[in-house]
Symmetry: C2
């Protein structure tokens, strides 16, 4: 039939004489024919679509930079390879990851902050390629590809930077809602450990469970002048601390050093510019997507594990402690 011919004409099927092929293309154009991608996907069992599972989607504005850099890396690699990208959160499919293996995705990129064993289990049973980002070291899973950052090394770098400057009394800030975040825990633990290694006391008593806007800073500072540095578990909280310090007339870094994690370009906009350990997020996202696509396209690809190293971006918010 002419219809089926048109269908053939669309494909890479060169088994038609050039004359009829031309006719077919002409008719297709006239009818404004567009192949239905759903039918094709159903038959060919492939969608060229990656699902991006994000815990933070409903709360984008709080983690803007993170999200932008992540998506920048993912979209670049995905689009380059002619994959499209669908954002997911738990609402879609009304369930956990197991519901996402309903044929709509060729693979899943998973950027939740919390990976319980149940979720890792779900990822395994999903029966389609999965790459996980930010998998904390402790539950590193050999079956699943993981891209993560060396949180422990990063906190070590940050702590030693402060200690080298002469700081002896350092506080660690993490908001209550992030206290159980595995990455926050790793950073905190490494901070404690590194401090101890250098003969400096640091423990739960030095942890500031402040709200995201660090509004507790003023009251705290009145009673805690012995501290000379605040290490914040992430960048945006560190920026909040910077704002509060300015509000309360505390000079950074002269009276107090402030340091954070991530080091996006936002850190160049603050006053003073924020010293941070750097997480190469966009690069990590690109790599994660690359690995996922590779797993999708070649069955026998082994799970891969990359732990990206950290580096220190020294800007203006850290200095020697007063009277140092």
């Amino acid at each position: 039939m002419s219809v089926s011919k048109v269908l053939h004409g669309r494909g890479v099927n060169v088994r038609v004489s050039e004359g009829t092929a031309a006719t077919i293309r002409k008719i297709a154009l006239e009818l404004d024919y567009r192949p239905n991608v759903l039918a094709r996907n159903l038959r060919s069992r492939s969608t060229r679509t990656i699902g991006l599972v994000l815990e933070t989607v409903p709360d984008l504005t709080g983690t803007v930079r993170y999200f932008a850099e992540l998506l920048d890396g993912v979209t670049r690699m995905a689009f380059q390879n002619d994959y499209s990208l669908t954002l997911c959160n738990s609402l879609i499919g009304a369930g956990p990851i197991s519901q996402m293996s309903d044929g709509r995705f060729d693979g899943l990129l998973w950027c939740r902050g919390n990976y319980g064993d149940d979720l890792v289990q779900a990822a395994r049973s999903a029966n389609l390629p999965v790459v996980i980002m930010h998998q904390p070291d402790r539950i590193l899973n050999p079956d699943i590809s993981c891209i993560s950052w060396d949180n422990t090394g990063a906190a070590k770098l940050a702590t030693e930077h402060l200690i080298d400057l002469g700081h002896r009394k350092i506080a660690f800030m993490v908001p209550p809602r992030s206290m159980k975040n595995p990455e926050a825990c790793l950073r905190k633990a490494s901070f404690f450990e590194t401090a101890a290694k250098h003969g400096i006391e640091a423990g739960e008593a030095d942890v500031l469970n402040w709200s995201d806007d660090a509004s507790e800073f003023g009251d705290w500072w009145k009673e805690n002048r012995q501290y000379t540095a605040i290490m914040s578990w992430n960048e945006s909280c560190a920026i909040a601390v910077l704002g509060q310090a300015r509000l309360h007339g505390v000079a950074v870094p002269e009276q107090l050093s402030v340091l954070g994690f991530d080091s996006s370009s936002q850190c160049d906009l603050t006053q003073p510019r924020l010293t941070c350990v750097h997480q190469p997020l966009s690069e990590m996202a690109t790599r994660a997507t690359e690995i996922l696509i590779h797993r999708i396209e070649s069955q026998d690809a082994d799970p891969q594990h990359f732990v990206y190293p950290s580096s220190l971006d020294i800007r203006e918010s850290t200095a020697r402690p007063p009277q140092g």
Copy 2:
């Protein structure tokens, strides 16, 4: 057959006795049965998926806030209604919008910055619901739903704010690559017009075609001390100007007032905090998505047009001109 029964059991089809239904559910559970959404979509001619067409995807980091707020608004509404969201750029489907009506989307949310007549035409021929954001006033299209911002009113507000403060010599900054952006053009034109209305000269000679980082500022300032204010076509360029001013020892707002468009929370992080006209982007995105979903679900929904008004967020970067 038992298989088809299972299928029925999955649906809202209550035409089976409770006993068999239970058996079906049990077997489905045992087999870890998951309905294939592709097959369902193919048959039911619906995907519950919205395509988000973005010009800026390949260049996310430059327009982070914009993107985050946009996506925040869109995902909120989409997920609430059990729609999923697919990011698109021109690479997907290897063509313009006409290629996107291949059955994968129920509707399209279109956030390109440039809407040529050809694209509007394509949107119309796409034969599926389309909602356009940032449709500039001049090509307002009655057939297609549009959500836009009152660029003209915004620039008027900004200009009059500066004039009220006493400024008489105002420059307008827009980078070369954004010069043809319809919104930039509207803002510029409204700036000229408003200035003229107040008896102040402003024309192309007052336009600064600087690069995004405003690195031309230093040289310019040496020769152009007569200017007392810079209005930047968007927020991120205004922030760049702020940085350059600090670098060259120019006091903002004492020596020079700086003002931008958009007014995201980023404007609170700068030093001094940046005065901006405010575009309620997240709200606009939510509304656009709502309208799109409504059009998808009811055939007879009329195209809708909303022009969101602007407001002025006065922060610290504008003040009376020197010797004023």
